[in-house]
Symmetry: C2
Amino acid sequence: MNLYPNFSFQIIQKSHKSEARCGLLNTPHGVVETPNFIFCGTKASIKNLTPRDFANEGTQIILANTYHLMLNGGADLMEKHGGIHKLMGWNGPILTDSGGFQVFSFGYGTVANEIKGRRDGGKNNRPSMIFKIAEEGVTFRSYVDGAKKIITPEISIETQRKIGADLILVFDECTPFHVEKDYTENSMHLSHRWGKRSFDYFVAKNDFRQALYGIVQGGVYEDLRKTSVNFVNNEDFFGIAVGGSLGQNKSQMHDITASTMSHVNRTRPVHLLGIGGFADIIHGVECGIDTFDCVHPTRIARHGCAIVRPNILNKFSKTVPLKQNNEFISLKNNIFKEFDGPIDDDCQCYTCKNFSTAYIHYLIKANENLFMSLLSIHNIHQMNKLMKSIRNDIHQHGDLQETKKAWLMDF
Amino acid sequence: MNLYPNFSFQIIQKSHKSEARCGLLNTPHGVVETPNFIFCGTKASIKNLTPRDFANEGTQIILANTYHLMLNGGADLMEKHGGIHKLMGWNGPILTDSGGFQVFSFGYGTVANEIKGRRDGGKNNRPSMIFKIAEEGVTFRSYVDGAKKIITPEISIETQRKIGADLILVFDECTPFHVEKDYTENSMHLSHRWGKRSFDYFVAKNDFRQALYGIVQGGVYEDLRKTSVNFVNNEDFFGIAVGGSLGQNKSQMHDITASTMSHVNRTRPVHLLGIGGFADIIHGVECGIDTFDCVHPTRIARHGCAIVRPNILNKFSKTVPLKQNNEFISLKNNIFKEFDGPIDDDCQCYTCKNFSTAYIHYLIKANENLFMSLLSIHNIHQMNKLMKSIRNDIHQHGDLQETKKAWLMDF
């Protein structure tokens, strides 16, 4: 029996130099061209933007977080009022996570650091808000009202059914950082049992509106990743998500991603959870990953930062000393007071076509929150531009050389 | 000599039952159909909205505040970078005030209360930030960096030249509240001398990009208002603004407005400063006022409130007890959790066409600032709808009966 009659994933172009591929991910709310990026609308709102704003910049798919919607009353509201699409006024595809990542992230405070390979993973540890991780599920304290709550695989899937996103995820344990291999292995097996319970509950309630992704765990251990991929391959999930810690640095992250991807069933769409750097995305695509998500583009916008390609970084760096990472600039910097032009002359986003860097700098200094909207618009446009460049490269050249030239600093 | 060759005000329809009229106010950045409402973009940004957002809801003209732009570096930035229109990405008409109202409002803390006839005018008095009011101008402390600053009529006009709005205002003293008649009279004469200096400086520097409004002061005293109107009538101002305190209550405000307006030169456009209530606008239009401004529609949006006509208020009041004033509702109220429909079924704004009241209530409760944008969009649309209804009434019926029926609670 086809569990997913209203969904399909067609691979329409394969690279001859890597595992990169272009696909069409069909959902009841429209098609996603892959590779693509999924923007975070945590509580059913992409912060400071209307759906009109992010649709105009080429967005095809967004996500919302089950954990937040459960605790803030959003899930119940959506059940009563016709689902998340209608409620938030976005009729395109939506994915929800299972709550697994966030219950542990809020619980331990540092799961996000671990996944992203930040070396200061343990430094800002918050007190645990998790009471108990048991076979049944996770008991934790709500950050909204302090109440004791539980998430089980069945509750996660039921909550995701209430929300009504197109693509949904199994419930998993996001393994804490810096644990021994045997913890990671036990945790992975727990996630598999939860994955199976998520699947069974999903099948029992399936009304064909949603498609379920399994999640690959196994931490930084190649053998565990292989075991976990086999589990996911062998269940009738619509898609495969790669979760958990991928390593302590970029190099290890890329190695683990590659070895994990070497085992996956290549007929299904594959999502890499929580990763959004240019190099990481490009490398992931070359391993065969189809979709990515990260809160980064919209979060840094709220801190006054604009995503830019290396040519823009180099342009500004020539004029003035500019503290920078490789992928964005902070417009708070006083040097931008003097820049009359847009952030990026080649950018076709609403912000770059209508506003100068000096104006955005001025808005930040004057505490006018419009800068958050303007920079979110720019950053979303840039990520969509990157993904479009990747798709064009695969279609036209079969490799990602053009994208790498334009988007990577030291290529 | 015509000081304003690039500006004109044509009266295209007069009411036969009142002094109401429809006009076309032509500026180098387009036409304003009058009567109309001017929305506040205090620091060259309508908070939480892009120009695309407020243009889509029918906005024809906005204003910015010279006082804030002077202290936040906005005026200098605009001078360097081609003016306020280019900087903020709005190519329609803009008005700037002179800084007079705000230097005194920030100084005494309560001028706004006085103008609006609030009885608690003196209660929340802040410590004065004004050092000295002298013939030369006002010395005060900057709220941005604590520096000692001065505004004189010449500095006000020069700053407004840097900003580059289409319509600009003379510098005036906004008379403090609860003062005796002789203070008000002396203050009015000071404002006249400052108005003349503003005019002389404007004429000396006139490059025909801007048109200057004189300001009528005189407080609640009909004889002083008449004297002040005569002063403004006799100078070659393009337009006339009515400023200062209009009384302690709505009734006195309407009386003072009417008696003041009975003396004005009716060939010029007339602006009523800082007034935005439905009844006050309708009454003002009947006295011959052409434009209004108030921060109210966008400010209450940021506090979770939606402007509604009486029929919407009545609809909600039937279902549940609703604490209300006559012109808006607070969507924070838990009763809105249950309302699946838009704020107003008849409203054609982006918000009402795409989002439910329940979603906006949820966003407020979840601290998702998108509610500020959505409610600002709705409130701007409603004010523009009111002004359009007034214009239609004048054109079609010659009176405002239809508008009053739709917009006033006890009509």
